[in-house]
Amino acid sequence: MNDSHTRKFQKELNVGLVALVLLAVLERSSEDLYGYEIAKRLQRANSGEALFKEGTVYPVLRALCANGFLTSRVKPSSAGPPRRYYRITRDGRALLAQWSGIWAQTRDFVDRVIRGGES
């Protein structure tokens, strides 16, 4: 219907979900990842289409890191400035478990209401 409403809805939805998705990607990964790699993994997970602007990944990564849910280290790169590699911490895993639970509940609830199947 209205394109700007749809975009706004998508943006509002993404605010909290980006952090959840980032934690999940880093938890699955056996190695440390840098911002660009994470953005590309998310793009592949959605069959090549990014659900949100890839640039929004970086400020969330920094905020997660500043709050102790991720650790990071810098490695030099031949392509440009040194890259910052992120790894999930124990606190980050605990947060992911908590948030995944909330997400599953929310998703099921919204699905039930949309389908009108609540008894």
């Binding site: 602007k53 890191c65 440009g80 890259r83 910052r84």
Partner: protein
């Protein structure tokens, strides 16, 4: 907002810097660093494709400079608020005594005091490093080895600047850069030296490093004096009572003599405990205030 798509990474970064013009300089430095990391990785992933084409493709996926600027602005506010522990949202108490004592539950007050003690050591290290580096760079300037020495000196200065910023943010809460200074366009050795010399933050950072010696000395002396005086006052009644009961005599049969004598009376003991506690609590308040002010001045000197 921005009409045309930037044609090069430098143009993109310039547009992003313009879009973030009113923001905290520390946030701008981080945003530029992140954007460059992504854009350079994208260019490297598409060898043979002109930079302008890569940027045009990226604009849709990474986001236009104004979109990215908005994302940094929003995330900084929203995510920080979401992670804020609920304790800090507790309304401030109205009782002046409670407000005065509330400093004991503020970790920043203790960290500020620690920073004041530490600043003598960091002050000496920074001063020595800055003076040695400047002297070596000037002294060796006529030899070819002077150039790499100068560049290495500046690189270490920037690393120290970032580390000091991180320390100050942890201690005072003042937002500082989480990424090093943007190295600028990839150009030759000579251009890089000229750019470094013309870069104001290079010199203000050196001013900060030199300034830390006198400041660190003052912080250390003030904190040590107030802290030892406060602790002595708190311990004085214990010494007085112990002497009277013959539990403990510091120098054999020699008794400690307090001056003025009235300090060693019950009323004096009460005064010592009250005044000592007041002094230590005030020290925490002052430390928090001084380091907060220091962090703001440091930000002006260390951040672009």
């Amino acid at each position: 907002m921005s009409g045309s798509t930037p044609r090069s990474i430098d143009e993109y970064l310039a547009a992003l810097r313009a879009a973030l013009a009113d923001e905290d300089p520390a946030l701008v430095q981080d945003a530029l660093y992140d954007a460059e990391e992504y854009l350079r990785a994208e260019v490297a992933a598409n060898p043979g494709m002109p930079e302008a084409d890569v940027l045009e493709r990226v604009a849709g996926r990474y986001g236009r400079p104004d979109e990215i600027a908005a994302a940094y602005r929003d995330t900084e506010v929203k995510v920080t608020r979401a992670f804020q522990p609920p304790a800090s949202i507790r309304p401030a108490s109205h009782s002046p005594l409670k407000q005065f004592l509330s400093v004991y539950s503020d970790p920043r007050a203790y960290m500020s005091l620690f920073f004041m003690f530490l600043s003598l050591i960091t002050g000496i290290v920074y001063f020595t490093f800055a003076v040695t580096g400047i002297s070596l760079s000037i002294g060796l300037a006529i030899l070819i080895i002077g150039l790499p020495v100068f560049l290495a000196f500046i690189a270490i200065t920037r690393a120290i600047s970032l580390a000091e910023g991180r320390l100050l943010e942890a201690v005072s809460g003042e937002r500082m850069p989480r990424r090093p200074v943007h190295p600028g366009p990839n150009v030759g050795l000579w251009e890089r030296i000229v750019a470094t010399v013309q870069d104001t933050p290079t010199w203000t950072t050196l001013v900060y490093l030199v300034m830390m010696l006198p400041l660190g000395t003052i912080y250390f002396v003030a904190a040590t004096t107030a802290f030892s005086l406060g602790v002595s006052l708190l311990l004085l009644p214990i010494a007085g009572i112990a002497q009277r009961l013959d539990w403990w005599l510091p120098w054999g049969d020699e008794r400690l003599l307090f001056s003025p004598r009235w300090l060693d009376t019950p009323a004096g003991w009460v005064f010592c405990v009250v005044f000592g506690a007041f002094l230590l609590t005030s020290l925490l308040h002052v430390a928090r205030m001084v380091v907060g002010l220091h962090a703001r001045v440091a930000k002006g000197l260390l951040v672009t």
